[in-house]
């Protein structure tokens, strides 16, 4: 305890020193880097990117936006979410998610959000999430029971799903995560899903839907061997001349979002419709394995170009 106290005192002293330094900086006599010996002014966030990724909101009020609040209340009640003594509504432009939505939060007397609902501009549910804590469950719902509750909640929220649900026990939060991965024309849409978290007592903790626009499928699709060649060509270009090697773990066809993973000129570009692609998982060996565990390439299923991918560091 005495260590903690002395360290707290040290930090307070450092903070006080920083205030003095701040005053000094205002006179132009010092820079913040003097505090630590390392630049305290890392590269500024690109102004254009900051504008693109800004999250801005406009307050909505019950009298001027009755439909927004009524829809939120219907959803809240349909899935058994708590009712707060106050509500807060807003229209959000979320530049980080490239999404606009109307949000209504139920807020308790102490100012803590109890739950919220978000609907996109088409009136489709984005998310409904409660933030209060689950009471210890007397009787615990089974995985099958959770899946049934989850499907009822999706229906109540106007979200239609097809196919088989995947139900996973959530070891950290308790209860169950029930997912319906989205597929189109027989191919998985990478990351798209309807998802419900069910508390151990069977109550609904969250309902969410992630769905991206899809481009038309290519008229002619490359074969697996064509794509294997394209992947090999790309990896040989990247790793050629080094002692890095690679193993192609697996490849399958999915709808993917073109991204800037390997192309900095595309960072911050407007999102494009998802395209049908071969997704190749590649395990680096040799020197590259020291930093990267997995490289995932998205290879356009029509023309064989690399349109993005992912990295596990």
């Amino acid at each position: 305890m005495s260590v903690l106290k002395s360290s707290t005192t040290l930090k307070t002293a450092v903070a006080a020193g920083a205030i003095v330094l701040g005053l000094a900086m205002s006179t132009g006599s010092l820079t913040a880097s003097s505090l630590s010996g390392v630049p305290s002014d890392p590269p500024a966030i690109d102004a254009a990117r900051a504008a693109r990724t800004a999250v801005t909101s406009t307050e909505l009020h019950e009298d001027s936006s009755p439909n927004v609040f009524a829809r939120a209340a219907r959803t809240r009640d349909a899935i058994g979410f708590p009712v707060g003594p106050r509500r807060s509504g807003r229209h959000v432009h979320d530049g980080l998610k490239q999404l606009d939505y109307d949000e209504v939060a139920e807020v308790d007397a102490s100012g803590q959000p109890l739950a919220l609902t978000q609907f996109d501009n088409a009136g489709l549910l984005v998310a409904a999430i409660r933030f209060d804590a689950a009471a210890p469950a007397v009787a615990r719902i089974s995985g099958d029971g959770a899946a049934t509750s989850a499907l009822s909640a999706l229906t109540a929220c106007g979200v239609s799903v097809g196919g088989q649900a995947r139900t996973d026990a959530n070891d950290l939060a308790g209860g169950w995560d029930v997912h319906w991965p989205r597929s189109q024309a027989g191919f998985a849409v990478r990351g798209d899903e309807a998802r419900v978290h069910v508390w151990p007592d069977g109550r609904i903790a969250s309902v969410a839907r992630v769905e991206h626009t899809l481009a038309a499928a290519p008229a002619r699709q490359l074969t697996e061997s064509d794509v294997h060649l394209a992947v090999t060509r790309q990896m040989d270009t990247w790793f050629g001349g080094s002692d890095a090697g690679y193993v192609v773990d697996n490849m399958d066809v999915e709808w993917v979002g073109p991204n800037a993973a390997f192309d900095s000129t595309k960072v911050g570009a407007a999102p494009q419709p998802y395209r049908l692609a071969w997704v190749a998982n590649i395990r680096p060996t040799g020197s590259a394995a020291g930093a990267v565990r997995l490289i995932t390439l998205y290879v356009d299923a029509g023309d064989g170009t690399v349109i993005g991918g992912d990295v596990v560091e």
Binding site: V3, L10, K11, V14, A15, A16, A18, L23, S26, L35, G37, V38, S40, P42, P43, I45, R49, T53, V55, E59, S88, V92, D94, K97, A105, G111, Q112, V126, A127, I129, F131, A133, D168, R190, G191, D192, E193, A205, A208, V210, T237, W238, F239, A244, A260, A261, F262, D263, S264, V267, N281, P284, S287, A288, G290, A291, R293, L294, D310, E313
Partner: protein, 250 residues
């Protein structure tokens, strides 16, 4: 002349009062570190763009929460000595790098992450690892408000990293404490998406109420849409700290 001096003193006093009464203004330092050179064309043949994007998001988060000054860097200045030399005065720390729960005298774990290897070589565990035990020795019991380990595995139950910042691995802490990490190996895109959702939730809060970091965690977790590398490594973030803490420094 006397009038001018009086005016100058008044301005300085006003500035002092403003800085003292404004939480975070020049008082609560944060450092954001992102390993960049491990993931560049020199080592991989391509430039992984996520370290820079994650760094921008983290800087936005620290700024929005009121941490100032905001130090750290993306790239070659993220060295072991820079990290350890700066961590004690920090109130908030963000790291994006390769991370893991490494053995130390098996079966003991001493979690760690890799410093940026610089511009002349690539990552080498033996040269680049920054262990939690080393960090713990430097932080020496000092309190931390917010620690985010944007790496693989440092949010798992076997991680020793939160302890290095005196944040117990419980979800019922009191005071201003919050630690965030990922449980399994994690795609960069999933970390970026999760941290974007985390930030969106906090920034999108109402004007008359403040949102908690735990609320941001729940929101980011439950909106979903995260890819995982394989079935053995599902996307899962984890936290420890105070569920009511709103992330503001102090």
């Amino acid at each position: 002349m006397k009038r001018a001096q009086t005016l100058l003193v008044s301005v300085l006093l006003a500035a002092s009062a403003l800085l003292v009464t404004t939480p975070g203004a020049f008082a609560y330092r944060s450092d954001t570190w992102s390993n960049f050179n491990s993931f560049t064309a020199r080592c991989l043949g391509f430039n992984d763009t996520y370290p820079q994007q994650l760094y921008w998001n983290a800087q936005s988060l620290m700024s929005w929460l009121g941490y100032s000054p905001r130090g750290g860097t993306v790239g070659a200045n993220f060295t072991r000595s820079a990290f350890l030399g700066n961590v004690l005065p920090d109130w908030a720390v963000y790291v994006h790098s390769h991370g893991d729960n490494y053995w130390s005298n098996y079966p003991n774990v001493d979690s760690g992450f890799l410093q940026d290897p610089g511009t002349t070589r690539c990552s080498d565990f033996s040269q680049d690892v920054i262990r939690s035990s080393t960090i713990r020795a430097v932080t020496n019991g000092s309190p931390y408000n917010l620690v985010i380990m944007s790496t693989c595995k440092l949010g798992s139950a076997s991680s020793t990293m939160s302890d290095a910042f005196q944040i117990p691995m419980t979800k019922t802490n009191a005071g201003r404490k919050f630690y965030l990490g990922y449980v399994y190996t994690t795609y960069d895109s999933a970390a970026y998406q999760f941290e974007s959702n985390f930030l969106s939730y906090l920034v999108g809060g109402g004007s008359w109420y403040r949102r908690s970091l735990y609320g941001a965690f729940l929101y980011a977790t439950y909106v979903g849409g995260y890819e995982s590398p394989d079935a053995a490594d599902p996307f899962q973030a984890n936290w420890w700290g105070n569920p009511y803490y709103d992330g503001t420094p102090g």
